[in-house]
Point group: D2
């Protein structure tokens, strides 16, 4: 997955988190950097790290965060200054809170027990209520994020709990929503995942260094070995004596975000036991089973549509080929979300290899359609390059409902599927035919894992959506 | 006053504040900028502004702050974006809290009543105690400044008071120390000065725009007219209906910082009824009365020693002349506080006009000696340029005690006067004679105004110094 | 093609050129920008443009160039300032001349007829001799590039020729090597391609705007239609009256750079009548014909190895699959060419999708091996992901000889193929088998086009290599 | 002297040069930096240095230059990289050539004998003719400066002369105008001053390091001792064996730029035997002799009017006092030369100390009036501060003629004195009386030194002004 710009017509994930605690005292800055770079696809607006040295007196927490990519925010000199063996980091695509430097994470504050840093992927659906209570207690906010709301829940709980982990647990019992959270207290690294398991969180190690990451692939990128997922509702605390698990917030029902499999996650990640690549390939196979299409060629929109295209081609016994060239060097200077610029962005980023499609009937696989304008251009490009027919196959069901758990597919974007029938959309994008994956097939593609499919069928995992507000 | 670098051997002021509220709705960004530039001599480490438009819904407070001079932090584009008719700003030289971007002011936070911004010149002597109480209440700190402690006192008070000004007043009753504070609540600008009047705060207006500034000269620079000083202990609130004064925190005893007259303030400022220039000139006269000196020439170390030198020359009937060329273009790149670099800094910044001093017996006036090394170099430069004698006259008494109210003359700097006799210092700096102003003459130079002279005689205005700690 | 870093073990192209002249007077800055972005894969070290407005008096040539990507060098504000209807631009990867800002192109100078700007892709083999002659004439050099040598040849010729194009032609008769050159004289855009056609140069138009680009895909990216290649040795001059062709430098023998087809060019480009994608796919087919391999899966190193892998898979009747995830967000901060960092660079950039290769015998296609260390790591990554066998197939012959025409495969890099047998290399990279394309098959893959294969077989198109020197 | 902005209504000098060659091999970067900082008042638009290590093989010349102050262009890291024992540097205020980075000096080029770097203060009046000849020879220009014209004269001469110094001498015989030039050839440092001595050039040493600088004060700032002025027309060559003088270009007539004494030079510099400070003080004395004025106070516009004010006060027996506060921290962001902004610039930069002038009749000394608008504001400020009368005395004669030798007092600026009588100007600036220095007194103030007074009386030292053009 590699489309970074808001201009690109895709749902957007809000962030990725990474944490590492080397109990043997080794420096973690470089591993943290590598882990964040491996998660960069989850958010490109801001990046940050907080690192402390647990062998020193308290209060040596160092934080650096700014707008931009990990590689833009951190220079080699910065990393050299970020000495310490306990650190957390964050990459962000804003869904709640404005896109400003002050909203970048980690949230780092001094509280009654010393320094605390927190990173968070997800959305709290009861943030507004909690924030009101906090302000009544005199807790001022420096950001407009729900991550700061969560941090304050922990700080408040800490005044009446015997330990940082007890405070995190108490905060966890107050918040509702989808979240993967990492917290450093002076000598501990605490990870907490929401009870539905909406947001992913992987657990790994490299010798004495324990790691958490939004995706297993980031643990590998930091030189570690993936051990298992943090369980939905589980808190894992890395103490100087090693990891301790607490499952008191766990409950039966699970609802993993379907979009991690469809689009967000890297194909080389494995989440809750399901290979992201395998689920995408299977989605392609299931699409092909549903309806036979006469075609000469199956291709996918790079990069996230390619695995489904391979699956479709294999199932339909139609040759697969790469039909697009993607330019990796598009800058961000001119990419502002106007319609004209979005159109330019597509043309600069993707071009069709005429040789491949000329005279062919093409099955084109993509993972989703949000507003339809990007797909219309791609179909058009294929026809201009000589394709005789373009059959569009989407490896996810149509979006019909907003997401309250941290995926940006609503509000300022029109959901074409909510307003138009499949036939109308087909006409709008100029395709010869259009087919979406069914929700049932989506579930099958993920091997039967319990998914949150609220954005497709309105079945929200909890009934808390009425709490949502700005 | 123009010496900006820490390398320069002078006491340092911590900051300057400026606030403006145009009740007629005009934009204040440019005036705020001009006011801050006029206060730049009070602090060069960081600068910042918060501005809001009171005609719009709440929550439109915009804040920009960073390390550097006012002219470096704010571009023309920045000012254009800072639209609004209510604003406060700050220039900072750190005395408490580290020198980091996060410690720059204004402190801007969201609290139960909306947005609050605060700027502060001074030191709270009971900040440590208050901060501990705040943290017990769950109030996390993002900075290491006592200004944030003050902000939280206001935020806490606001939960139990009917108005923002009542909250400021209640906070004022809790804090001890020297301070000049400006606070914006959504539609008010509140100014508070400490009851001893240690820190200065001027009040002025330009048509419907009301202004506060650390010095009267800044009000003029912003196009306003100086009305009067905020009284020690007085709170003035600018409401949409105009200014309201509250004197409930006022008390009898006053103790204005002597160093404002000796060194900190601009010569064109008038503070608590006393012209800064006149007090300096008078200090020179008084120095000359005390002891007759055979000399051919009186000169001063630019810029702050010149007014006293003029006074000395007039009283002693010895010709005055400018004997130094000062280079305004010294960069900051290499100015780091090592002894070698301090020496280079002096040589780059000051040079002697040989023509003026060759063959002459020189009386050299400066406002203070902290460690003595700068003065030793200046005396040496005069001799190399051919001066036959160098008699040093200091227009303030010797420093003997630390300041707890926001002037940086202690800790990491050795106070030469605390360790050596006047004769020994004279020898150290290589002068032919050395004379300090007496504390009594200092008082006379300020026209009998009640001064805080604690750094000279240990007479602290209140007995709260035992509270001080990091 | 998307690997930007020097750390990556690939031959490097030195640059890409783009030129556009809108005879109707329209602004060309944005099209020039788009064209350069589309050529960014050919050079990422520096970028630049020169633009003039032919409706204004002479001397309004504006040039901006700097180190970095096109999107880093040019902001929206910059483009707005670059008004004009005649422009040329350049992206650079340095082969001759140091990697410094002053060596960035265009070369822009004032000469006897006004302003001249020049961009150049290629290497002049007799640059040293010409430069010596120029210096004897008093022509000083501000850069260390052979492009400046070429510019001076034109300037010198201009003093004795009736027109700019005559001067370019005379310069063309003096220089030896491979080159594609664009020159603006005040009201003309002149394109010249070397007589062997070593370097590519495409010609296109969009209404009244005529364009030249290193690759046809860039013409499409700028909204134009590809017309034809500039012929080897041909000069095309765009005058206010339209294009004029001159073929007086053309000769029989042609020798197109084979590496454009193997690796440099975009797959969606067509050069000298041959589709780059088709030639790569055919190279894969030919590899498969030569030797049968028992395998379960064919994959390619992204992105340039993928087309050959598709061809191999089709020919060998073995399933094709994408087995790698490529991270597009690798920053440049830490990418310095030490061996350790190169290793890190590969791991950050590429990861294996275990799901795809576990338990499989894999045929891995890449386009070339320079030093072998990158390939060793990739083979190792595949084995760690569970591949049972890794058979490496290279879609080009082994490098054995240096290139003197502008491809950086020599000097500071060891050519593993020049020092080791195929078996030894196979062992070094840890593969189960290794096969290279033959030179004959390479020719066949390009459809029989006359290629320069000097780096494979030492058959240099001209005998001028003895002239080469610094 | 400290007014840096173009907005300030003063004539402008175009640059300062500094050169140093340590024959003992010591590093010169830091001394060069210090020397340039000491010359910063002569030009603030761009700064640059070229440095080479004469113990190494040729071609190791390193050049760095950019827009901005010396302290902005050079970081500590930059200086550390600029290793070498032979260097030249430049600060620039553009008079000819546009204000662009490419026009920054040193001019550094490679020519037939290796690397050459050149810095230049002054203007060549026959640059246009020479440039035309150069272009006919095929010499292209990368800048629009006459400094490059001079460099090319040297490069051309070098092809037919036995040594670099012979080439400089031959170039010197071709050029006309005012200039001080420093040239490095690989192992020599060559200084040349124009035969009239219009531009200053000082010569000094520090042990084995020989120095040249536009002003003697810069030699002191770099730790050296002033030896003597380079004579008008003299060339001094520092070779590995020491300095060699050549006086073959010298002639009888001299004409030193009067404005160096009036305004440009630092007061602590001595030029051609005359102390700058002394000449300014004497100008004040002479002004007072000419006409008696009833007044209570003499003051000067800081900084360059102060010495004359001291002289005036002493002669007229009226008390001298500093009446202005100057703010050293004015940024450059908003200083653009519109009338409104110029007015703001004056108010931000200067303020009157009311205490000093209230109720007084003031004699105000300044060094010059160009357009009159700045002076009008200053007179106005004095009256607003309570001055009863303001008598303006100018320590130079009225400007009536343009300067062709490198001082920017013409073209885009209106010369008020050329269009209005003294009485009219007096009225325009709102003064009670106005008096200029006479040309005769100006000569006397400089001790009878032969001055170029062309801008006052039209007596140009040579008749070459007809050659002038763009």
């Amino acid at each position: 997955m590699a489309y970074s710009e808001r201009a690109w017509d895709k749902p957007h994930e809000e962030c990725g988190v990474f944490g590492i605690y080397d109990l043997a005292g080794g420096s973690v800055a470089r591993s943290l950097y590598d882990g964040l770079v491996a998660l960069q696809h989850r958010g490109q607006e801001s990046a940050g790290m907080s690192i402390s040295d647990t062998s020193k007196e308290r209060g040596n927490l160092k934080t650096k965060k700014d707008m931009g990519l990990v590689s833009e925010v951190f220079s080699a000199d910065d990393l050299a200054l970020m000495q310490g063996n306990l650190g957390i980091g964050h990459v962000r695509y804003s869904t709640t809170g404005e896109s400003t430097p002050q909203n970048a994470q980690p949230i780092a504050m001094n509280y009654i027990k010393g320094s605390l840093a927190l990173v968070h992927n997800g959305n709290l659906v009861n943030a507004k209520t909690l924030k009101q209570q906090q302000m009544l207690r005199g807790q001022a906010h420096y950001t407009t994020t729900d991550s700061e709301v969560l941090a304050y829940e922990i700080v408040s709980a800490r005044t009446r709990t015997p330990s940082a982990e007890a405070a995190v647990l108490e905060a966890g019992s107050q918040i509702r929503g989808g979240y993967a959270v990492l917290v450093t207290s002076p000598r501990k690294l605490i990870a907490l995942r929401d009870p539905f398991g909406i947001k992913p969180l992987a657990f790994g190690r490299r010798e004495n260094a324990w790691m958490f990451a939004s995706e297993s692939a980031a643990i590998a990128a930091a030189g570690g070995t993936f051990l298992r997922d943090v369980k939905p509702g589980e808190m894992i605390v890395i103490t100087p004596d090693g990891p301790v698990s607490d499952t008191s917030l766990c409950h039966q029902k699970q609802a993993h975000c379907a979009f991690e499999y469809i689009y967000f996650a890297r194909p080389d990640s494995v989440m809750d036991g399901v290979s992201v690549h395998a689920s995408r390939r299977m989605a392609g196979r299931l699409l092909a089973r549903w309806m036979k299409t006469d075609a000469d060629l199956v291709t996918g929109v790079p990069d996230s549509g390619l695995a489904a295209a391979e699956g479709y081609a294999a199932e339909a016994q139609i040759p697969f080929a790469l039909a697009f060239h993607k330019n990796s060097y598009i800058g961000r200077s001119f990419i502002k979300p106007t319609d004209t610029l979005r159109r330019l962005a597509v043309h600069q980023k993707l071009s069709v290899i005429e040789e491949v499609v000329r005279g062919k009937r093409v099955v084109l696989i993509d993972d989703s359609i949000v507003r339809g304008n990007t797909m219309r251009q791609i179909v058009d490009m294929l026809r201009q390059a000589g394709a005789r027919a373009v059959h569009v196959r989407i490896s996810s069901p149509p979006f019909l409902h907003p997401c309250y758990y941290g995926t940006d597919v609503s509000s300022e974007r029109q959901l074409i599927a909510a307003e138009a029938s499949c036939d109308e959309i087909c006409k709008t994008i100029g395709a010869d035919s259009l087919q979406y994956l069914t929700v049932a097939d989506l579930r099958e593609s993920a091997g039967g894992l319990p998914l949150c499919t609220a954005c497709f069928d309105g079945e929200y995992p909890c009934k808390c959506k009425i709490l949502v507000g700005k």
